[in-house]
Symmetry: C2
Subunit: 335 residues, 2 copies
Amino acid sequence: MNSLKKNQEHALIEKIKDWTGSRRIGDDCAVLPGGALASVDTLVDGVHFRTGSISFRDLGWKAVAVNLSDIAAMAGRPRNILVSLSAPTSLTERALAELFRGISECARSYRVEVAGGDLTGGPVLSLSITVLGEVHEQGVLLRSGARPGDLLVCTGDFGASAAGLHLQEAGEWGGQASYVIERHCRPEPRLCEAWALLRACKGRGALIDSSDGLADAVIQLAVASRVSIVIEAEKVPVHQECIEIAGLAGLDPLDWALYGGEDYELVGCIDNDSYKVLESYGKLNPFHVIGFVNSITQDTESNLSNSAARVRLADNRLVELDGQKSFQHFEHKPD
Amino acid sequence: MNSLKKNQEHALIEKIKDWTGSRRIGDDCAVLPGGALASVDTLVDGVHFRTGSISFRDLGWKAVAVNLSDIAAMAGRPRNILVSLSAPTSLTERALAELFRGISECARSYRVEVAGGDLTGGPVLSLSITVLGEVHEQGVLLRSGARPGDLLVCTGDFGASAAGLHLQEAGEWGGQASYVIERHCRPEPRLCEAWALLRACKGRGALIDSSDGLADAVIQLAVASRVSIVIEAEKVPVHQECIEIAGLAGLDPLDWALYGGEDYELVGCIDNDSYKVLESYGKLNPFHVIGFVNSITQDTESNLSNSAARVRLADNRLVELDGQKSFQHFEHKPD
């Protein structure tokens, strides 16, 4: 379903910055002059989903949700989406109607308008969604805002989407109500949660969404902020259903949580005082503390992407997060 | 290379407006609150181009140019683009570098910044480009702005891109310098020309780009403005090289001009006084008069899309433009 060359993808993005001379590439959204936010994400049949495994209605929802999650990752406010659809001739009008039903449901849920798009033929179903928004009036949270001494916080739970995908791919899902299937097919962009974090930290923090897994999110935060981050494995929220499915499959649910991807939770770094503001919300606080931020020592500075992000396991061993293992959707052939 | 069900595409767009409840779908770009313009276009290998027939550098240029043309079609000012690339693993880094070289060349030529994007795997190369811009300070030109008594005007010439495609597909192009190949591979968005038209008509006019052919552009203007438009065939500019290639192929160059598509010229409707302003520029006037706008009579009102747009041939016969013949890239299967 995906290839595992995350480092190669990041190297390629660095090259694209060179080739285009762009200063804006790198975060979840581009921040444009005037405070506009813009982002695009493409979902391709056979790479990000399989028609047959996901309903067209859920696919429409998910395509919008993952894009809104990019706006949430910067605590922004989404306003409009553009839908560019490339579809084979075999796609029926009923399927298209269901797809747009899902797109509209998600857009309406988050008060976003479908403003335009493009329809074209193509060998496989491919959905490119552009989301346009605005930075929040209280500022923007970037990946680069983490400071030594910060807490590592997150929303929701991790690994559920990978567990849902596993159920679908293994043909073990009988169609009954399932938390992990719901998480895989209808992720919810954490917009309100992002705004709560922004208000609590008054703009002094770092934020990203976990589209490519918790490990990748933490690596990105560490690299962009030039800090060292430690995840405490025992504190990472994992849903009971995910643990059970991993158990039946003989897999470690922590692997899904760290490397599975597509959970679309928020992962951020804020200081203690900011977290106390969130704690004062009691049960309405959507964030958990799952680790902490240190300064980088001389020996980690030489190879930031490999050693600045680690996980402390239950047996107290400190293990480097593996950037190569992370969920990713792009692979290309070197010359 | 493309399927010929233009009317079906328009019907589908009407349905999508219903499904999404969107009030902004329909013009070349969405006009967002605050005067932002946004548009997205996707080019798919085997549908819009064939790797092997077009260089990666030209493909990059063209992908940006066709999107900037959507901004030109509303006389807007492009500012930023987002590039979403879906590519098979067989694509080399050299090919990617050439693609982004072309993207950057076109972006720089028109003072547009690459602000972000997305990279993903996929079975075929597919490029979704989102262009973001602003409405011109003197206003916006829509498809719906034509009035009876207006002149039909256009930039450049028509049919050259289809002639270039014909040369490529027939394997008759030896690689020598060729106007029609250049027009097919490196179209130029008519931004300055659109701004000149907007200034000359002070915002009282209609505008569209001819991405799907001159006939489709005129049909769209007629339908959106609820007017009747006549193209005078003898006035349609067609390049000598296009005429020669059509002659050798035993085809009518007017067919390419009307239905070939991908010329990305501007087609507009303005009144006589506005055209006099353009004429005062002498040789610097980029527009030709190629027809005129009438009011629709009762009998054409009943079936606007078929009878409101016609072409007067050299022998003076008045022939309806055929919406079904137009170049289009989308087809879907009815239930």
